[in-house]
């Protein structure tokens, strides 16, 4: 089993703790001038997103988690699984609801997503940072209401509801930041 020594710790490293895969967010080296060194790390559980702090005696080894990020194209959803295709091998893989939970409201067919695999199984699907989605439903803007920053809700083709400026109309294509879930701009029609 592969493992990492604490002196290899850095942001983004994937490790196994109590059987769960974690990614290191922050690694702090703590050492008294005369005395034992420790690595104090902040880690995120890749299964449930929970962040916790752990301290390791420096020089200890921690089991590596076989976690890799791959770029895959979202193809379709059959009701139970969301299917992604490796653009090089055309191999398809199905991700369950837990893996797509955070991504599903921005998942559009043909878009290239980051699929995080743990022991070859999809663990997490991350949509592109920016997606372009069609507005399927929104109320017309109130005429004359030009107040700065005024917004209204709009529903897009994937089912997500986001806050948009009043000039947005049904049929518009919007650029959305999936990390914040916020409207960025109107894309070309």
């Amino acid at each position: 089993m592969a493992s990492y020594s604490t002196n290899e710790f850095r942001g983004g490293l994937k490790i196994l703790l109590d059987g769960d895969p974690y990614t290191i967010i922050e690694n702090e080296f703590v050492k008294p001038g005369k005395g034992q060194a420790f690595n104090r790390v902040k880690v995120r559980n890749l299964k449930n997103g929970k962040v916790l702090e752990k301290t390791f005696k420096s020089g200890e080894s921690v089991e590596a988690a076989d976690v890799i990020d791959t770029e895959m194209q979202y193809i379709y959803n059959d009701g139970d699984f969301w299917y992604f295709m490796d653009p090089n091998t055309y191999e398809q893989i199905g991700a369950g609801p837990a893996a797509v939970e955070a991504a599903v409201k921005f998942l559009k067919e043909q878009d290239t997503c980051t699929v995080t695999l743990w022991n070859g199984e999809p663990l997490l699907v991350t949509p592109p940072n920016f997606v372009e989605l069609l507005v399927t439903q929104c109320d017309p803007g109130v005429r004359g209401d030009t107040a700065q920053g005024a917004t209204k809700p709009a529903t897009v083709e994937t089912g997500a509801t986001i806050r948009v400026p009043l000039f947005v109309e049904e049929g518009d294509v919007l650029k959305i930041d999936t990390r914040t879930g916020e409207y960025v701009s109107r894309a070309g029609k």
């Binding site: 703590v30 060194a37 200890e60």
Partner: protein
């Protein structure tokens, strides 16, 4: 990776000003500036410190302590040195494998009097007086954790760590538990603008300090600015036999941990045997002092180029 320096022009000026201020401080007090070799035949036996080996079989020094004590034994009188020291594997927000140390020795001083001088130096360089708290290692543990660090067994130290959510893995010695608790549960709570002088370290962490007559504590102190450890000083051990015992114990601990042996400094031992004058000595991290003076959050902001390899 950028070719640009990590320190801006302001930080470079602050460093130049600080070095000038340190030299002026010691010149006014009649303390002689010295230089000793960075490249040494012998290394540091401390198992918690790893030296860089040089291809000719030598070492880059981890501290100028041994060489400066040879000068003291030869009759140099009060001396100070500003130099780069090298400690392998130490990198982080407050560590860089190569860093600048200010080390000085004062004849006839004890640890208490030298700690006062450290505080005076810091306040002089900061251009203001700072709130000061004096405490002992034992007092800190009793107040923060309700544990006597001189007598508590490993189980109760581990239990205190467990209560704080700390489970650092196997192979923890009693001193490791003390280090863990001090660095995770005690010093992070020191108020940001305050200087704290921690005195009377446990005898097991005496390093090169003499023991108090009680045999339980050592004449060793540390100075913190906020939560940041700045300086470590001793009323120096002058007993050659005791010095040999400590080096042998460090070598044994290295073997126990499966670490490579380090060539001990025979010249240093000979100098101690010849007679180290009664003195106190201290080392202060110059980069960390710059961090506190300039409000830097990372050591890389006060050093032109850090080791980012």
């Amino acid at each position: 990776m950028s070719w640009r320096p990590g320190a801006n022009r302001e930080a470079l000026e602050a460093r130049a000003r600080l070095l000038h201020g340190i030299r002026a401080f010691f010149m006014a007090r009649g303390v002689l500036e010295v230089e000793t070799p960075l490249h040494c035949r012998a290394g540091n036996t401390d198992p918690a410190i790893e030296s860089f080996r040089v291809c000719d079989g030598g070492y880059l020094h981890t501290s100028p302590e041994f060489a400066m004590k040879r000068l003291l034994a030869a009759g140099s009188g009060d001396i100070f040195q500003i130099c780069k020291v090298f400690r392998r594997g130490e990198a982080g927000r407050h560590h860089n494998p190569e860093f600048t140390l200010l080390e000085w020795y004062r004849l006839g001083f004890d640890d208490r009097r030298l700690a006062d001088e450290v505080v005076t130096l810091i306040e002089t360089l900061a251009g203001q007086s700072l709130p000061l708290h004096r405490t002992s290692y034992r007092q800190l543990f009793i107040e923060a954790l309700g544990i006597d660090p001189l007598s508590a067994d490993v189980e109760s130290l581990a239990a205190a760590a467990d209560a704080a959510g700390l489970h650092p893995g196997g192979g923890m010695s009693r001193n490791d538990w003390l280090d863990l608790l001090l660095s995770h549960c005690i010093t992070p709570g020191f108020p940001a603008g305050r200087l704290t002088v921690v005195s009377d370290y446990p005898a097991s962490q005496a390093a090169l300090a003499r023991l108090r007559p009680d045999g339980e504590t050592a004449a060793r102190f540390e100075v913190y600015w906020g939560a940041l450890e700045l300086a470590n000083g001793y009323h120096e051990l002058t007993d050659g036999a005791e010095q040999r015992r400590r080096i042998a114990a460090e070598q044994a601990e290295r073997r126990r941990r499966g670490m490579p042996p380090v060539r001990a400094d025979a010249h240093f031992m000979a100098a101690i045997d010849a007679g180290l004058p009664e003195c106190a000595g201290v080392a202060l991290g110059v980069d960390r002092l710059l961090m506190k003076l300039g409000g830097a959050g990372h050591i890389g902001e006060v050093i032109a180029f850090t080791d980012t390899a």
